[in-house]
Symmetry: C2
Subunit: 244 residues, 2 copies
DNA sequence: CAATAGAAAATTTTCGAAAGAAATCCAATC
DNA sequence: GATTGGATTTCTTTCGAAAATTTTCTATTG
């Protein structure tokens, strides 16, 4: 029965939530852009995407529209879509905006946060540490799967810090900026062995967490430094397109 | 020839820019939501919208998707779209987020701004003053057209202040938050004669501009106070839905 | 009389084809 | 030889109908 024309079940079978094909298109396109499977700047021809994902125009266009407002896709009126290009300027803007948003969110979170909030931070930090340790033990060949797991924990830790800020907008923006900056982080992580200047990321996280739990303004400074350090490393170790 | 089936010219005839029907749908829906022509919380049935705007599913859905990521429209997977509801909490969140964004943008703008920037601010202030004066002279019946013109100048003034911040993201966010908060401002403006506690908005603008031109940190404080004052008035004079 | 299952209606979502623009190519002209 | 004009091709955008899903209604049962 599978593959027969007219077989377009929508309901999710497994654990995931994508109830519509539009959502599927969005998630897959986003993943492929962030991971670099779709090259930056490359035009996204509808026919090719239809082929690639086995979906038709409508859900694809809806997904692209959504990705456009998240700055992952660029488009001009009657000239179609393309993967948003990468550039130093964009990377820096995303980083600084992220610092602005998360600094405020962290301050508010420290003001509002309760015991559960603290517990969640400690738990997320622990999970991240375990994953990092596991990774370093099996070092050398870092599988893509591990990198994905690592990234997920990293995301969860940073999100736990600001989770109690009380502003849905700030949380949304932080999420969006996390994804945007991930485009620059990921390719840097893959071939990172080369120019790594002995950075102890785990220690930085510990420092941020400790300051956060004692409600110190230092936490905000450490967080900003953490992000700027990453940005600097990315800027240095990325091969930027000619005129950007 | 007009109206004949198959007559779907896309190219804009007049001065405007909407090159696609998707763009038309976006602009009209947005205007109708902001102005309150479409009630907050009301379901947006595709068939009804198709009727109302004379467009078909595809462009409407694309526009709704875009409006959803701008928080003007709400949607659930297979249950369709609705106008995003209004609430005290959302209004406050939008206001505080706007203050966060624009404060930073204003500081950067004061750092980067050149002569042209200053000239543009003065010009925008002047245009706003003229419009306000014209309006107060013809007071009593304030036409909707005048209100629209007034709002445009108001927007232009606030935008001129932060125009040179150098961050496309901050400018986009400011624009988005301007539109979001306009939903709360507009209905309040229409019937404002009642509870107005003798507020001199023009003076507030002048104060912000003066401080900005002399590159004083006061500008940021005045701007925040300006927005919070507006939020307070809105909160007091709005009839909020029962449980929000 | 409330609760439930099943059919009917309403609505959203998706598709494939058709219409409309832009980009490309090619020949004719200056 | 460069340039302009027009046809051809490629691609985006839009439509209307078909499929899938949710909601509503109704009859039946405990």
């Amino acid at each position: 029965m599978a593959g027969v024309a007219g077989d377009r079940r929508i309901v999710s079978e497994g654990a995931g939530e994508p109830a519509t094909l539009s959502e599927v298109a969005y998630q897959r396109l986003r993943a492929d852009i962030v991971s670099g499977a779709l090259d930056a700047g490359k035009p996204l021809r509808l026919e090719a995407l239809k082929q690639r994902y086995g979906l038709s125009f409508s859900p694809l266009r809806e997904a692209l529209m959504r990705l456009q407002s998240e700055r992952l896709v660029f488009s001009t009126a009657l000239r179609g879509f393309s993967v948003a290009p990468l550039s130093r300027a964009e990377m820096k803007d995303a980083t600084e905006t992220r610092i602005l948003i998360e600094s405020d969110a962290l301050r508010r979170s420290m003001r509002n946060g309760d015991d559960d909030w603290e517990a969640a931070i400690v738990a997320a930090f622990h999970a991240l540490s375990l994953q990092a340790e596991r990774q370093s033990r099996l070092s050398g060949e870092v599988g893509a799967v591990d990198m994905h797991a690592m990234d997920e924990r990293h995301y969860q830790f940073h999100r736990a810090l600001i989770a109690h800020c009380g502003s849905p907008r700030l949380l949304d923006l932080a999420d969006q900026l996390y994804v945007e900056t991930q485009r620059y982080r990921l390719p840097c992580l893959v071939g990172r062995v080369a120019g790594t200047p002995a950075r102890d990321v785990a220690a930085e996280h510990q420092q941020i967490m400790d300051a956060t739990l004692r409600r110190s303004e230092d936490a905000v400074r450490y967080l900003a430094e953490h992000y700027r350090r990453t940005a600097d490393i990315i800027e240095a170790s990325t091969v930027w397109p000619s005129s950007a």
